[in-house]
Amino acid sequence: MAAHVVAEHVSKRFQLRRDRSDSVGHLLLQMLPRRSRPKPEPFWALQDVSFEIKQGRSLGIIGNNGSGKSTLLKLLTRTMQPTEGRIEMSGRMSALIELGAGFHPDFTGRENIVLNASILGIRRRDIERSMDEIIDFAEIRPFIDVPVKYYSSGMNARLGFSVAVHVQPQLLIVDEVLAVGDEAFQQKCMDRIFAMKRSGTSIILVSHDLGSIERLMDDGLWIDGGVVRGRGVPRDVVYSYRSFLGETTARDGAAPNAKETSQVSFAVDAVAIRGLNRHEQSIAPGDPASIHVRLTNATSQTVRGYVGISIRRPDGLEVAEISGLRDQQLVAMTPGTTHVEVLTSELRLASGQYEVDVTIFDDQGRRLANARSAGAFRVQGQERTSGVILVPHEWRRS
């Protein structure tokens, strides 16, 4: 599929000119002859950055403050021009870069929706149609006819996000602004972003939340001092970034240089996790549950192999592994679709959100396919428990 965004050898230089006059008065003063003038200091905010994002893929950008992430986003949104290199993209772009960007403080929320949409390339009559949806998503209906300058930062971010996602962009750029929303809204935004991704929108996300970059993005890009320090599988990029930060988390299972196998012959189509006690989506701690995996074998012959399932917390912590290899559960994958189900009588997980990775191995233990975040589920108990697992217990006086 065609590349959606291509950045080739992009560099951006800023002139930190100490002598730049910012008023006419100053300018006139400068015309007086002087002995020496401070030389302009070039500052390279970005150097030789290249990457590409294919249609429907997502890129997570990480890096310290001042590393050049925001400059990169400004180049991508074309509010700045690169000094060298080129950036090409196709389709409609929508961005949520900084708080209140694109809003006119004196206009009401409703007026700003129209204004913002027309900046993004949507006609008024088209945006009027999705007006209610935008307002409801942002949850600011009571304040929609109030000038935006009276909005709280949370309302501002919600409205900005809501407009940005409702203009049906083909590329969505999101900076850290989401951090101002509460947890529920952040979750809602993330859900929305991924719903868009599933329908073909490419995503660029800049975040300091390494966990979400690692678990949600297809590719990672680590920038430091304006230079690309890491690029590729988010897990690896985040790992090297963490090592760089000196806070390497102990995780023996995940080899940092594990390469994504690019086999397309096998694929994990769907993973469904259901609690067997009730009919709801959520599962209570300790409920019996089933994990249902649907695989595709695109080759013409039956291949025998193993299925590995790994349950992770959203921040990347691996909670449990169910390995068909270890259990010696050889699965015959016939050409076409194969269903595999794992049942557990007690899913002893504490309340929270979990994700499931599925890996397919051949009978020699070689990896055939790997699907990160192939499924997700929520465990919800009556009481909020902290931690990850539920320990069956009884109390006794001793």
């Binding site: 065609a2 008065g25 509010t79 960007a101 004196d106 206009f107 204004l115 027309s118 073909g200």
Partner: protein, 280 residues
């Protein structure tokens, strides 16, 4: 989303001239709509959140006409021919204010809308254009006031006044050109607004706003009308009250100035535009 895929796959073969022209036309329509939205909102906001509302657009020229009318008409006995001096003055001020206010609003509009620039790129030239058009909306209200005065004083108006419409076109083009220049420079030099205020004051006194150019010596008259705003103002007043152009040749020079200002202003604006995000 099937549509987005279609668009992407269509792209290579569709890059024909016709397609590009269509795209350009589409985006032009879009930017025109953005200009309109911005201008209308600008006027609304300006008057909705202020005490006297839209009356400001009317009150301002009225008070100015009143005080200048008193000083120049009563104290200095300025002559304005057959027309009452107040009407004469109000006419000059109404048309002058379109230029002056447009220029003033446009100068600060890029720096004043910093938050809007941070989003997605759109042609920045939209902002000063919208600022000028917002003042054009104001102008239409003050033109109504002028009309009331003309009726009150029973001043004879000629049908040739309809020619003012194309003349306003020249004036707006000239205003836009100067507005682009100052809007761009104001990003680099923030005290441009002070300078514009000063320039406008001198410019107003050098233009036939409070006096008629025709009542001066011919050398002075030529000098006053070489100034494009002078030529335009004189012509507008002539068309309204004299029924003909007294100095048609200066109108050509004004039109030439207008085109020159637009081309030059746009060129400077385009040149400075890439720096906007960096210096703001």
């Amino acid at each position: 989303m099937a549509t987005s895929r279609d668009m992407l796959t269509l792209k290579p073969q569709a890059e024909t001239l016709g397609y590009r022209m269509l795209r350009r036309a589409q985006s032009l329509v879009l930017w025109l709509e953005l200009i309109r939205n911005l201008a209308v909102r600008d006027v609304e906001v300006r008057y909705k959140h202020s005490l006297l509302g839209l009356y400001w657009a009317i009150l301002n020229p009225l008070v100015t006409a009143g005080i200048f009318g008193f000083v120049f008409g009563v104290i200095f006995h300025a002559s304005s021919g057959s027309i009452p001096y107040v009407v004469f003055l109000l006419t000059g001020l109404t048309f002058w204010n379109l230029f002056a206010n447009g220029l003033m609003s446009a100068t600060g509009c890029v720096t004043g809308n910093a938050s809007m620039l941070a989003k997605i790129y759109f042609p920045r030239v939209v902002l000063p254009t919208a600022a000028v058009f917002a003042r054009f909306i104001d102008f239409m209200f003050s033109a109504l006031v002028l009309l009331v005065f003309i009726l009150l004083y029973h001043v004879q108006v000629y049908w040739s006044a309809l020619w003012i419409i194309p003349l306003l076109g020249i004036q707006v083009v000239f205003t836009l050109g100067i507005a682009y220049l100052f809007a761009a420079l104001n990003v680099l030099y923030r005290d441009m607004t002070q300078l514009v205020g000063l320039v406008l004051m001198v410019w107003m006194y050098m233009s036939p706003v409070m006096y008629a150019a025709s009542s001066q010596t011919s050398t002075l008259q030529g000098l006053l009308l070489m100034n494009p705003m002078g030529g335009i103002l004189q012509a507008e007043r002539d068309l309204l009250f004299a029924g003909q152009l007294t100095e048609p040749s200066f109108l050509w020079s004004a039109a030439a100035w207008a085109v020159l200002a637009l081309v030059g202003g746009l060129a400077v604006f385009k040149r400075v535009e890439p720096l906007f995000a960096e210096v703001m």
